[in-house]
């Protein structure tokens, strides 16, 4: 009898632990559903991943926008280097940078480059060095729409700005008609969805609007949505879901969320043809970026105003943030090996399979050189 009771208690404890673990893991919100997570069918080729003397557990935290890419990389890397465990918590760029400047993680993922005060804070952790930005993952920001009877929609930056600033309120507005002479635009209220949480996607989307339509987008930008009105939802997945659910809706999110029949806007950038939101087009636009970081820092300045054929300029670049000097001795080999792998040709190729854009060749080769010099 007593034994039975104890068993029951153990069972209850076990159930509590399991459900607790489930509840905790359920908190990672920005999940694309993970169907394509590490979707490359090719078995990892251990030969091409150099483990060196990497071992132990590598902690990292940061941007949720690159979480799916990291997951895919980690799967390949840990399969090849059995002794290494990599734990990337997609807690958000802010959380990642905080953890990095407190010395809790070996590297952080971030949607935006380090700010001067964050660089200053990183000097305490990187003895003799400082935190640097390594561009590693590109991603097109797609503008999804749901308008009955419209399959293709072309918009330019000023029109987008006016739509998201509630100045254009109806789908049959003459300014939209002018860009889409052939579409049957209904008399329907526009419902523009933005992010309700602070987000690098918002930051990059509004950076694009500021750079290309300053007159119609009179805000300073940043991770917080600033325009008044409109509707909002939490996370890229939330926005994508609302757009899918609501007739007349338009919203921005990373391209990987544009699935299950969600249609995306083609951008009229001033090039001869409107540009579709695709991975190749995003990479083409990132290749116009300039490196503005000093020293080993490779922070990029994107050219949002590009008019190059087939370049989709509404993009987001996420960085890995590491110390250039003064990385912790026990995590350095693993950090270097992992970064070397994700910057390699093979690592970058996996990105496209997961709806991310690889970093263009001339920039990624600088990244590779920088990684070899980490100490």
């Amino acid at each position: 009898m007593k034994l039975q009771r104890m068993n029951r208690r153990a069972l209850a404890l076990g159930a509590l632990a399991v459900s607790g673990a489930l509840a905790l893991t359920a908190c990672g919100s920005d999940d694309t559903g993970g169907t394509s997570g590490g979707g490359s069918a090719a078995a990892p080729k251990p030969g091409s991943i150099k483990c060196d003397d990497a071992k132990g557990q590598l902690l990292a935290d940061g941007s949720s926008a690159q979480k799916n890419a990291i997951d895919a990389w980690v799967k390949q890397f840990t399969a090849a280097c059995q002794g290494t465990q990599i734990n990337y918590k997609g807690g958000g760029s802010g959380a990642g940078i905080t953890a990095f400047t407190q010395g809790q993680v070996a590297f952080a993922g971030s949607d935006s480059a380090l700010k001067p005060d964050e660089v200053a804070a990183s000097k305490k952790v990187c003895s003799g060095g400082q935190g640097i930005d390594l561009p590693m993952v590109g991603g097109p920001i797609a503008v999804g729409f749901n308008v009955s009877g419209v399959d293709n929609l072309v918009l330019d930056a000023p029109t987008l700005a006016k739509i998201f600033n509630n100045e254009i309120k109806n789908w049959n507005d003459p300014q939209i008609k002018k860009l889409n002479p052939d579409a049957k635009l209904p008399n329907l209220k526009i419902q523009a969805f933005h992010r309700s949480d602070d987000s690098g996607t918002t930051d990059n989307f509004t950076k694009y609007l500021i750079a290309t339509a300053k007159k119609d987008w009179p805000y300073d930008g940043g991770k917080t949505w600033q325009a008044k009105g409109g509707q909002s939802a939490s996370g890229s997945s939330g926005v994508a879901q609302q757009v899918k659910q609501t007739n007349g809706a338009i919203g921005y999110f990373e391209l990987s969320y544009a699935k299950d029949g969600l249609k995306t806007v083609d951008l009229d950038t001033g090039a001869a043809q409107p540009v579709k939101a695709t991975i190749d087009n995003a990479t083409k636009a990132i290749s116009e970026a300039k490196v503005v970081g000093t020293g080993k820092d490779l922070a990029l300045e994107l050219n949002y105003g590009t008019k190059a054929e087939g370049a989709y300029p509404m993009v987001l670049v996420t960085y890995e943030i590491v110390c250039d000097k003064g990385n912790k001795a026990d995590s350095l080999p693993a950090t270097k090996a992992f970064l070397r792998y994700i910057a390699s040709e093979e690592g970058q190729k996996i990105l496209a399979e997961n709806d991310y854009a690889p970093i263009p060749d001339d920039i990624i080769s600088q990244v590779r050189t920088t990684i070899e010099g980490l100490s």
Binding site: S29, G92, Q231
Partner: protein, 333 residues
Amino acid sequence: MDTSTQITDAPPPAQPPAIDKRAARGATRPGDRIFLGLSRGSGILLLVIMAAIAAFLTYRASLAISKDQGNFLTTFEWNTNAVPPNFGIAVLAFGTVVSSIVAMVIAVPIAVAIALFLTHYAPRKLSGPIAYVIDLLAAVPSIVYGLWGALVLVPHMNGLFGWLNDYLGWTGIFSWQGGAPRSMLTVGILLAIMILPIITNVSREVFRQVPQMHEEAALALGATRWEVIRMAVLPFGRSGVISASMLGLGRALGETMAVATVLSPTFLIQTSLLDPGGGTFAQNIASKFGEATEFGRDALIASGLVLFVITLLVNGAARAIIARRKEYSGANA
């Protein structure tokens, strides 16, 4: 079925044991002293914990508010990343209060009606299962309500919103611009469902405790069943129902995930309950926390402190109401 048979299983009100204070104080057995020490220690510990929480919140909040460029109480914006930071709680306070009021207006009458039905009208065969199902409602995690709300409730609100706009749109409170129905009214309805079980359960217990003699006396005077409820049950249960409502209100004020999932938060105060927009304290903290910088977290803590104060005020008001009504509630009978 006779109403009185239902109440027979209620325990008779316990007589408070007569305590001779002097004798109690004079008792010096070691067990008494240990117990006194333990209970006094627990009481003091509770106060210390509360004070520590309040001190922590106040300290972190003061860090943020001192750098706030806008007015913390009246600014319609939450941008802690801006230079200088600009944020305020006006929209959050408004949204929290309005959504909770909507929830209370919907939930309290329904909960009281269910409780009365279960204690005075329903056959016992039915009241058991119904009470059980209502208990189950309380066990559903709020994120599940949020998901259900976003996927099922919101799409189904279009019809109701259209109807309200057609017939009550002239009031301004129920006008609808045709946005997705992710508004304060939807949140209020969802919150009402969530707080229903606790109000119902406590009210049911209270109505069960109505002294049988009161009801029998009313019946003897020729009162109908409704008159018994009106004259004996409701006055007796009033303070209990108020307490139950306050428990529900507490949950509604602090509800986080369900609101964050269902609402379309924007920093605007909408006069219409049907237009998307607004926000609540808990929802704002949940949505902004992930990407917040250290300063942003301090600002969120400051907003949490305001929620803490509002909750304290509500509880204080409820206690005052109950204390004022105690003498004529019949609770002392």
